[in-house]
């Protein structure tokens, strides 16, 4: 290809060139911000699903407050511990329900995150923009690891606040004291515990699970859900048949049970109590946490690499 024969006078092209103003750089944080916003545009279930569940729960709860005055009168007869359990129970249940919803949303989000863009060919559009594969994968990983826990926290706290205020209004309306209610529902204290739980468990402890799902989503040509689940089942089954042991299954259970270090967070109770110093330290020194984070980094690095090679399917 030669260009000697370019018929256009040089001066004209120079004139146009000088009008071009050197554009400012776009900082990496801004590219990340817009990439995360893009994910929220695409997957609106990220916030619609927990909001819908919270709204439904509130409707149910508001109807149930018809019996609240009776319940409070009955509670007087119980000892303080039983009292606490009875009164706090719906608040814990609200948190549990919203958390379960966002966990399900997170799993399906991850499975589709790097698969959907290849299926609808839009990866060709995204790759035509100056956004690296690393930024893209990190923005997608930040949804289950950072955005969803924080969103769960905000929605849960607002839901619990509405519950508490409405209960207060009902009790005041029937001329009962609200002191018992307020002492057994320490909202601020509960929120701290919730935030810690969400960041520690949903953010850090479950991170390798999300990393794995994103990796499969980047790799699978079809049925990412099956590719994510079947190999794990297969490994467990082969181990059982070959050695009659179930270390792999136990390991998975340990991870999914949300029980870092075997202490601090009994998996069975979604404790609303504030974290003790001991629990935080136990989490931070548990090798499981750090092995998990290292695995997450490895899975995400592999997903970044895969996205570079992958085109539309």
């Amino acid at each position: 290809m030669t260009s000697q024969s370019n018929a256009i006078p040089e001066s004209e092209s120079r004139g146009i060139n000088t009008q071009v103003i050197a554009p400012a750089e776009i900082p990496a944080t801004r590219r990340m911000y817009w990439s995360v916003r893009r994910e929220l545009w695409e997957s609106r279930s990220i916030y619609i699903a927990p909001l819908a569940v919270a709204a439904l729960f509130l409707v149910g709860f508001l109807i149930s407050t018809i019996h609240l005055p009776d319940k409070m009168r009955a509670a007087v007869a119980l000892n303080p511990e039983q009292q606490h359990e009875l009164i706090e129970q719906p608040y814990d249940f609200a948190a549990l329900l919203i958390m379960a919803t966002t966990l399900i949303v997170a799993v399906f989000y991850c499975l589709d995150a790097l698969h959907g863009e290849r299926r609808d060919r839009s990866i060709l559009f995204w790759k035509s923009l100056p956004v690296s594969d690393l930024t893209t994968v990190l923005s997608k990983a930040s949804i289950p690891i950072v955005v969803l826990p924080l969103l769960t926290f905000a929605i849960t706290v607002v839901t619990q606040l509405i519950m508490l205020l409405f209960s207060t209004a009902v009790l005041l309306g029937s001329g009962l004291s609200v002191t018992t209610l307020w002492t057994h529902v320490p909202l601020f204290h509960m929120s701290l515990g919730l935030l810690y739980h969400l960041l520690a468990i949903h953010g850090f402890w479950y991170a390798p699970m999300f990393g794995w799902l994103l990796l499969v989503s980047a790799w699978a040509r079809r049925a990412p859900f099956l590719w994510a689940a079947l190999p794990l089942l297969a490994i467990g089954a082969v181990e059982k048949i070959a050695f009659n042991t179930s270390h792999f299954a136990a390991m998975l259970g340990y991870r999914l049970g949300g029980d870092p270090g075997g202490a601090g967070f009994p998996a069975s109770s979604m404790s609303m109590d504030s974290p003790t110093h001991l629990a935080v330290v136990q989490l931070l020194i548990s090798p499981g946490l750090w092995i998990g984070l290292a695995l997450t980094a490895a899975f995400l690095a592999a997903a970044v690499r895969l996205r570079r090679y992958q085109g539309p399917i």
Partner: protein
């Protein structure tokens, strides 16, 4: 300045060789048409240039290695890889917000200007737009990016003729300014031949012909022979011969114009005819050869 430079560019998919050691040099300010039958390696070559696929050999686009530096390269390169790659869920306003958010050389006002001439509304989702409107939107986004290189791979596939005409008109009038370089592939060769400054024929992973349009005009001549001069014309070794309405049309490479004029009517061949002459024999087995 050299925009694209490739030496020994190779790419194989299993045993199929898509690019068989291509050498290529595209200077700044050119509009290059990459023309070839289906499966000739056009898209593979473009994908390599755009950093969408790994390759063997040497390749520099605007001085960068596209495979390892795609994200940096995309500040100066924009491309329309196919019609309908805009995500269907995105709103027009969101697409504008996103590109403005991540692209340092995107001029939002320009896109708004292009869109104002269409019936596309900001609140619409891409899935609600017609195929032509999606292509218009994509082009409006791409043309508002102050890129040094624009790559278009079948940018008008499946669009109606009015739109296709409009597309190339606005590309030339509103976008191309001689400091930019455009590489375009299409099957509608006749629609772009007036736009191109250079043409490259590619077949079976190899470059069959690469020259400027001026060179095409000075080298190749098409002769509609007087019936009684056919034998004399054939003696001048045409590279291709075909019949239209019972008259023989012969295509010559580097034959004196005056000499031919004595034998019939001489004109410059169309790119499509030249393509058939140069690539035709090999490509006629491949389906969908360009006309």
């Amino acid at each position: 300045m050299t925009c694209i430079e490739a030496r020994g560019l190779r790419k194989a998919f299993g045993t199929t060789i898509a690019l068989d050691g291509i050498d290529l040099r595209v200077e700044e300010g050119r509009i290059l048409g990459l023309i070839g039958p289906n499966g000739a390696g056009k898209t593979t070559a473009l994908n390599a240039i755009l950093g969408l696929t790994p390759y063997q050999g040497e390749l520099k686009v605007l001085g960068r290695d596209p495979w390892t530096e795609r994200d940096l390269l995309m500040r100066d390169v924009s491309f329309v890889a196919d019609v309908a790659v805009l995500p269907r869920w995105i709103r027009v306003s969101q697409a504008l917000d996103y590109v403005a958010g991540v692209h340092p050389r995107f001029d939002r006002a320009k896109t708004e200007g292009f869109l104002a001439k269409t019936t596309i509304r900001h609140a619409s989702k891409v899935r609600e737009l017609s195929k032509g409107m999606v292509a218009q939107l994509h082009l409006a986004l791409v043309m508002a990016i102050d890129a040094k290189l624009l790559v278009l791979d079948e940018p008008t596939l499946g669009l109606d003729i009015l739109y296709r005409k409009q597309f190339y008109d606005s590309l030339l009038n509103d976008y191309f300014d001689r400091s930019r370089t455009i590489v375009v592939t299409t099957h509608q060769v006749e629609e772009i031949q007036d736009v191109l400054t250079d043409v490259m024929f590619i077949n079976r992973g190899r470059i069959v012909l690469s020259c400027s349009m001026e060179e095409v005009e000075s080298r190749y001549l098409e002769l509609m022979v007087h019936p009684n001069q056919v034998a004399a014309a054939r003696a001048l070794k045409p590279i291709h011969e075909r019949q239209v309405f019972g008259r023989n049309i012969l295509l010559f490479d580097r034959v004196d114009r005056q000499q031919l004029a004595a034998l019939g009517d001489v004109r410059t061949p169309s790119i499509a005819d030249l393509f058939v002459a140069v690539v035709g024999d090999q490509a006629s087995q491949a389906q969908g050869a360009a006309r």
